[in-house]
Point group: C2
Chain length 510, copies 2
């Protein structure tokens, strides 16, 4: 790659792509060595003596791991929650805190009709009908119960539900502080109240099995300093009843994600926290878990190339411009996709245009963007008195842009998007009220749909087609629930439903 890059923006067309991936990055993947991918050491023999024993060991302290720990503890098990990073919460704590609830009291209050069946259909459609239907159905059916469970531990939500891309109706709960931290903190509080503390800086380097393959414990490094695999003190921790893998996805493991999708080189940014490196997925595969749909990796379509990682610009795009405004190609000034299509459709469409898209909303369209001032201060969202000024800033043909906005206002008035069939909100307004706001959008790696196979009890299924005794999993490390493409706000749901089940199963030694 000999092009200069600006931030996470990337000039990527087909020819360039061939050049890029024919070069160093993927050559390394192919050779298994040239790429900056140190060989990993996996597995460990049974220790002569265990340093410590608990009933249930949970790896990971995001939504899923914490839910598992709460359930296991409530079932009477002694529990250890291990987290390799210095702070608990994993990716969940920087997550947007929205989750899909089908047929909720909040929907009823707004007169929105919805059912778990409709959520399931939305999930399957986004997932290209590759979802494992039994598991997908379970989270759809348990969504209301999961919401109530979070409320029972003190989580508070905004009054109104949100309409995210790919959903047939507005249905997503939003945490009151606009972040998954609202859920994580309450889960942690709950655990603390039961006497369980999160053991941070604790890295798991191996899943330990007996000679029959049964999982009996883990080899850990206490005082681990990410990402140094040789840091910390080695200990062996026995899991008398079960081990729950809730260690998340591999969006930040550039080697492995490039192997599964060679387009996702180091030049593509990720919304994830640095620790989303997926080594426990490799270790689970080594231990005999069955890989499911691992090459389906999701790019988020709403992120800004003008800030690193998830940032905050996405809030303007997802809650403002996509719902109440337009996304245009700066070269043409025209819309090019339904701004509420599923994530893959939108991300693919943006990449095909060859440069970041411009997402635009007027003053009416930003009313639900709680962090608007912050995004402007950061310079990620810009404010303009006129569409002319906006067009000039981004080099958009001004007449084309005005026509696009006028057309869109017409669609709002008639309640029908003639071009892309976007769902018009009951509170949508014509885009006529300055000032106008804009944010660039360029996709970043967001979620790894695939992972290891589980069943309805969150037991991990081995290559021999039977559960691996003592091993459970939930959340992003698992595969199949979301199929090819995960629908927004279904990750929290998945993590909470299967996290709880995994904890229950492990404690009961299912």
């Amino acid at each position: 790659m000999d092009e200069k890059k600006k931030g996470s923006e990337k000039k990527l067309n087909r020819r360039d792509f061939l050049k890029t991936t024919g070069g160093i990055a993927v050559a390394g993947v192919a050779a298994g060595g040239l790429f900056a991918a140190p060989a990993k050491v996996f597995g460990a023999d049974m220790p002569k003596k265990w340093d410590e024993e608990v009933d249930v060991v949970v790896i990971g302290s995001g939504f899923a791991g914490l839910a598992a720990a709460i359930e296991a503890k409530q079932a009477g098990a002694s529990v250890a929650v291990l987290e390799k990073m210095p702070m608990y919460g994993g990716n969940s704590i920087i997550n947007g805190g929205v989750f899909a609830v089908a047929g909720s009291p909040k929907q009823e209050a707004e007169g929105i009709k919805d059912t778990p069946e409709l959520l399931l259909e939305d999930m399957m459609k986004a997932g290209l009908y590759m979802n494992h239907p039994t598991l997908a159905r379970m989270i759809a059916e348990k969504s209301r119960e999961a919401a109530e469970w979070t409320e029972s531990i003190g989580v508070e939500y905004k009054e109104r539900v949100t309409h995210l891309g790919g959903h047939s109706v507005p249905r997503s709960y939003s945490a009151s502080n606009g972040s998954g931290s609202a859920i994580v903190m309450k889960e942690v509080e709950k655990l603390k109240s039961m006497g369980v503390n999160i053991r941070t800086k604790t890295y798991v380097s191996a899943i330990i099995q007996d000679k029959d393959g049964k999982v009996v414990g883990v080899k850990i490094r206490e005082g681990y300093k990410f990402p140094d695999e040789n840091s910390g003190t080695v200990k062996y921790l026995k899991a008398r009843k079960g081990l729950v893998l809730a260690s998340g996805g591999f969006s930040r493991d550039i080697y492995f994600r490039t192997l599964q999708d060679p387009k996702l080189t180091e030049d593509v940014d990720s919304t994830n926290q640095p620790g989303a490196t997926g080594e426990l997925l490799m270790e689970a595969l080594r231990a005999g878990a069955t890989p499911v749909q691992i090459s389906w990796i999701q790019l988020g379509p709403w992120t800004s190339p003008d800030e690193k990682g998830m940032g905050i610009g996405y809030v303007f795009n997802a809650m403002g411009a996509f719902v109440y405004g337009v996304m245009v190609n700066p070269k043409t000034g025209k819309r090019f996709i339904n701004e509420l299509a599923d994530r893959k459709m939108r991300a693919d469409a943006i990449i095909r245009t060859g440069q970041p898209a411009i997402c635009i909303a007027d003053s009416e369209g930003v009313k639900r963007v709680s962090v608007l001032e912050k995004t402007i201060e950061k310079g990620v969202v810009k404010k303009f008195d006129t569409l002319e000024a906006l067009a000039k800033e981004y080099g958009i043909p001004v007449d084309a842009l005005k026509e696009t906005v006028n057309n869109y206002s017409k669609y709002v008035k008639q309640g029908n998007d003639e071009e892309f069939g976007k769902y018009m909100q009951t509170d949508s307004k014509p885009m006529e009220t300055p000032p106008f706001y804009a944010c660039r959008a360029w996709p970043k790696v967001h979620h790894t749909m695939g992972g290891i196979q589980i069943n309805e009890k969150a037991q991990v299924i081995g290559l021999d087609r039977k559960p691996i005794p003592g091993l459970y999993a939930a959340g992003e490390i698992t595969g199949g629930i979301h199929g090819a493409v995960r629908l927004g706000s279904c990750a929290v749901l998945d993590c909470l439903v299967f996290g709880r089940i995994a904890g229950q199963s492990a404690a009961a030694k299912v």
Copy 2:
């Protein structure tokens, strides 16, 4: 699944799909037990004594395995070629015998300009740019050498090259007898001339590794009767230098393919031979191989449900109706997809309609269908004097069908398909000339793109990101070369190039 099924036809629409797959089939997948999927036993301890020793053991006797065996033998190694089925040749021997050669003498003779770079671009485009570029580039660059190698062992090809879908130019060699058997037989002859016979009915039940993970041999069952895993006599065969996995894909492993794509239940037929059951892929994963893109499974959209396997009806569909006619949903009488969209788009669209599509061409549209009379004799294609008679036969609403055909004729006249944007051929004619011909189309599983990771030396790469000592692989068991979607006639090429490399690497103990 309580519906009666007729042949490989399947009533499947979205709602049914949700219902169906929420039922037994995938519930079984989820539970890892209910489905008709007996638990497999994998792995084996090191034997106290080996029954036999050779330098190189090759598993599989298709294009790749035979090429590996020839190269290993020529390099001075003693070689054993193991084949579980009663007949050698695997899927290669029932393959169509076409393979892509870029920049060949045959192309030069026809004045066709082509380069390996252009073939690579075609492969990457079909593969959704998910191909491992270094490996894909290798087969593109070695295509001419591979063709010459087959000619050097006596394979003969038709004079003219063929233009297959997805290729920018005509470039595919066709074996003189129109079958991959022409290549397989010459490979077998060559091996026999060097004193190597194919050991059929020999099942490999385990890859044996030493304590450091190095592959040292296999556990086999001689006199195996497919598919009885307990048949035959157990023996241990040492591979002093290397083991080459060339055992093919898993199109016929209903459990595993349904796990990777829940739409591909037992109700979906396959073009593959019955032995394409992929147990060696599971065993390689157990041994620590890295899974790559395993959920990308290709369906051919052109096959008929009125004959088993590949059949001949596909020729009418691919060369006639798709190019010069229409494909309609019999329930509505309407078209539902661009009949020249890529394989995946067409196959997915047919499945979503819930029943086999009806592919229709008039007398002008069948002029390029060389096997038309044969397809009619077999009853796969039917002939009708009128559209009314055709509609009646398939239960299509006749007025809707007439409107569809009239519209299509209009599109032909104006050179613009207003509905689906299909490319209109220069020799397309309005569909006005009886008799009319029809063939049903229902997708069948054709190729499994994913598999285990290899490098340029055909070494299998482990989860620890290093080659697994002593283990090599080539052909459909490997993943990455074709990315998301394999381009027609690139399988033979892949098998020959990497089969030869695997044999050379194993013999040299690379």
